[in-house]
Amino acid sequence: MKSYNRISEIQADLQSGHISCLDLVRSYLENIRLNSHLNAFLEVWEEEALRRAAQTDENIRAGKMQKLSGVVIALKDVLAYKNHKVSASSKILEGFESLYSATAVQRLEDAGAIFIGRTNCDEFAMGASNENSAFGPVLNAADETRVPGGSSGGSAVAVQAGMCHVALGTDTGGSIRQPASFTGVYGLKPTYGAVSRWGLLAYASSFDQIGSFCRSVEDIEWIYNCIAGPDDQDSTVSVNHKTLPFEKGSGKYHFAVMEEAIHHPGLNEDVRSMIKTAIANLEKAGHRVSYFRFPLLEYMVPAYYVITTAEASSNLSRYSGLLYGKRSTAAVDLESTFVASRTEGFGTEVKRRIMLGTFVLSSDYYDAYYKKALQVRALIRQKTLEILDGCDAILIPTTSSPAFKIGEKAKDPIAMYLADLFTVQANLAGVPAISVPFGKSSENLPMGLQLITGLFEEQKLFALSETLMSVAE
């Protein structure tokens, strides 16, 4: 089976009868089998996918091609899909099946997509390497000794290794863009409030967004248009704002580059030369590149971790062993049900973040940490929007280095947290950002460049991504 980069190509071949959807699904299933050692999937819905593929073939023969007919999608294991297991890669949700579907999942299903399985991730989306899953790490298909990034590592690898066409992920501080960059695929984090979070197992509610991994910008846009938009179930999905239209105009754009990022001492040399190449190529093609200073850079990761852990400590209180999921066999009364179930059910990183969050919200430290972090966030948001007002997009590496080795940072949580250095800005500010694959490192590892635009400027983001790709070649 040919390897497709675009939904439009798949649908053209399905329409012409060149391929059948059944064969297409079989080829993904075959790739899943061949790559099972990458540990990308926690569960494969083989029978259902085949059944739905047969139905899709029938529909196409009857002239009923839907927007996502023939599009095979994997779901990160933090998205609810009715009557299917969902575990956030945690033992605490052992045996749990969702009674309903996430809005994004429902919209994809209604548009004719086929779900092939749920993908491995860091437990409750907390991590940057996919090493925090209760079901083992995911391996990067580009180099199996390396991490795929996280937290949506399974979704990234599923698209990277052709185990599905598209995968949904979630991005709280870089959990889509960072693994996209590590695996050489496209990854979008939409504007906060653009895609409903209904059915997304929350890590940090004021940051989490659902987005996709794809093999082209065209598909990123295609999927975004299917899942974005107002939803009664999520009051934080803006009903007043919708994605702003974008006129391509002259096709010459203004990119702003953060000085602190390209001069950062921790920046890998391959990454540094990649962004320099991008800048040079953009200028050569007639685009404008300017530089700005952002002294708040060093406060981004601390502010991000204070607020996200605070929200997480509360969001994860519902996993108590009482109503669903794992209940410890050591539970003898209410207190031990809570304590033992949570002690056994959660992994180390989740516990660390619950404790951090509980600490920063406690009455003695609230002002010193949580409140201050909210102020920092407001400042970062304001400064970021100011910069975006003066340019078309911010251009910044997605990550400071290509994929690192499995185990390399596992013992050093601070080093791991710094993996989010360039990605948390978009989440703190709520603006959309995309990671576009851009060249290979000296070790032949994928690298990604990140573009950030203003609130609800996804259409502009897609247009500028195409521009960026055009100078990559």
Binding site: S98, L99, W198, S206, S235, L322, L334, L361, Y366, Y370
Partner: protein, 493 residues
């Protein structure tokens, strides 16, 4: 000075001291919206356990709250009725703690931006009227219910109530005794019923009251250590618990002890409070802004539409009943005690045109009937127009008031579809105004009591009543009293 002596002196000093109580109340009002505060689940009381739950009420992974505009409207109504300032930008917060009946591990509530601030409630006690100031009214969601006595081995949980909208009314510490607390809770209950935002039923828990009680020597301004009293499931228990607690704290201090900051429960059987938990064990609730709900704005239009939809409140009705309708303060008080009675009365008075008689029929006869039968006005079988027919018949002199009250009224209740006139006819209740009929009876009576007639004539005019009564008895209540009087006076010359 010896130590013992010092202690004795202190006691002597304290004996001369008088204490005053400082009491603040927190009243939880369960709102009567059809659906829950943050989901579409039904809020109806009394359903089979765990039948009014959705993934949202159960805090399933991935679910999100969405706020119920009706609950906001009801909270604002309460605020307007209690003269509060209404906040235009409202934030929700999370109150975090672990308990079995709290599915999400946090309760959505309002922390630093309550929907209403300030305001007051006017109360009446035997000591007069007084305004009790309010600190705030905020919105929040209720928890589920734990039941520890339904099963031999396990505690059982019912989440039907989880997520039901509540408002919490918090007073300033301006209440000084059980009587005032009684009056305050009664007034709040009356208002929520008028506003139709809560059934006010304390037994079922739709209205719940906690009291913070402390005492201090009269004349001092510093607050004493406060004790929170819970589990008072009736208004009279609120009064009993507070009075007991004041007594307990006073005796404790007088005997040289110290009041401990704690939460106490109330034992209704013994009329005493008991320690539930000490303050040191109180949670740090880690309040923070609820990220799943954007700020809720109360617009001018919305506020005005709520204001326009406010029903008349008892104070307004009382004014009208005493001033325009010329009713006594007592009657007006009884009639405005609850909304249904007040509305029934107004409607009846409008149809019958007789305010005084309408007030009497409602406050004496109808209320008496309801009390005897233990039913609500809504279950009373007779419409206003039926009672109006009855009033008109008495007014026209067709039958006596006592015949109407004792015979016609019960008959109408039994036969709510028949007209008053029809039943008067059927039961033969019409008074007899026929002169000959009455004259014959008068003659009989006067003939029966010659000595009394003599006494009357010699000046004992008070005996007239006896003769009237005898005529009435002989006529089986049918002789028209005015005519009977006339004829008697004429005969007795």
């Amino acid at each position: 000075m010896q130590r013992g002596e010092c202690h004795r002196n202190k006691l002597v000093l304290q004996r001369f001291m008088e204490f005053e109580a400082v009491i603040g109340l927190e009243i939880h009002v369960q709102l009567s919206t059809k659906s829950k505060a943050f989901s579409a689940d039904s809020t109806e009381y009394g359903g089979m356990p765990n039948t009014q739950v959705s993934p949202i009420s159960l805090g399933h992974p991935g679910t999100l709250p969405r706020h119920n505009q009706k609950a906001v409207e009801q909270a604002i109504k309460m605020g307007l009725a209690l003269h509060c300032d209404i906040r235009r930008v409202n934030h929700y917060s999370r109150k975090n703690y672990f308990y079995a009946d709290l599915p999400k591990g946090y309760q959505i509530t309002q922390f630093d931006t309550p929907i209403c601030n300030n305001g007051f409630v006017k109360i009446k006690t035997s000591a007069g009227t007084k305004n009790i100031g309010l600190i705030r009214i905020h919105m929040e969601e209720d928890t589920g219910k734990s039941m520890h006595d339904q099963d031999l081995h396990d505690s059982l949980l019912d989440f039907n109530r989880a997520g039901t909208p509540l408002i919490e009314v918090v007073t300033l510490p301006e209440i000084t005794n059980g009587d005032e607390a009684y009056a305050f809770v009664s007034e709040v209950r009356r208002l929520v019923r008028y506003l139709d935002i809560c059934d006010g039923n304390m037994e079922e828990g739709s209205l719940r009251c906690d009291a913070n009680v402390s005492i201090r020597p009269v004349g001092t301004t510093e607050f004493g250590t406060k004790v929170e009293v819970k589990n008072m499931n009736s208004i009279s228990n609120v009064k009993r618990a507070i009075d007991f607690e004041i007594q307990r704290q006073t005796e404790l201090i007088l005997s040289g002890g110290l009041v401990v900051g704690e939460t106490r429960g109330f034992n209704g059987l013994q009329g005493t409070t008991f320690s539930m938990r000490k303050k040191e064990m109180i949670n740090d609730y880690r309040y923070f802004p609820e990220p799943d709900l954007p700020p809720m704005h109360v617009t001018d239009e919305f506020l005005e539409s709520v204001r326009a939809g406010m029903p008349e409140l008892p104070e307004t009705l009382y004014e009208r009943f005493t001033k325009s309708y010329q009713l006594s303060e007592y009657d007006a008080g009884v009639l405005t005690d609850d909304k249904a009675t007040a509305l029934y009365f107004e409607e009846l008075a409008k149809i019958s045109g007789n305010y005084k008689a309408s007030a009497n029929w409602v406050s004496v006869n109808i209320r008496g009937y309801l009390n005897e039968n233990g039913i609500e006005l809504s279950q009373f079988p007779l419409s206003h127009s039926k009672i109006a027919e009855l009033i008109v018949q008495v007014e026209k002199g067709v039958l006596s008031h006592s015949a109407a009250a004792q015979k016609l009224f019960p008959a109408m209740v039994e036969n709510p579809d028949e007209s008053a006139a029809g039943l008067i006819e059927k039961l033969g209740l019409a008074q007899n105004t026929d002169g000959d009929f009455i004259e014959n009876l008068v003659n009989e009576v006067l003939a029966k009591y010659p000595e009394k007639v003599a006494e009357y004539k010699s000046g004992k005019s008070g005996l007239l009543g006896l003769f009237v009564g005898e005529v009435m008895k002989a006529s089986k209540g049918k002789a028209e009293p005015k005519k009977t009087n006339e004829i008697l006076l004429q005969k007795l010359g």
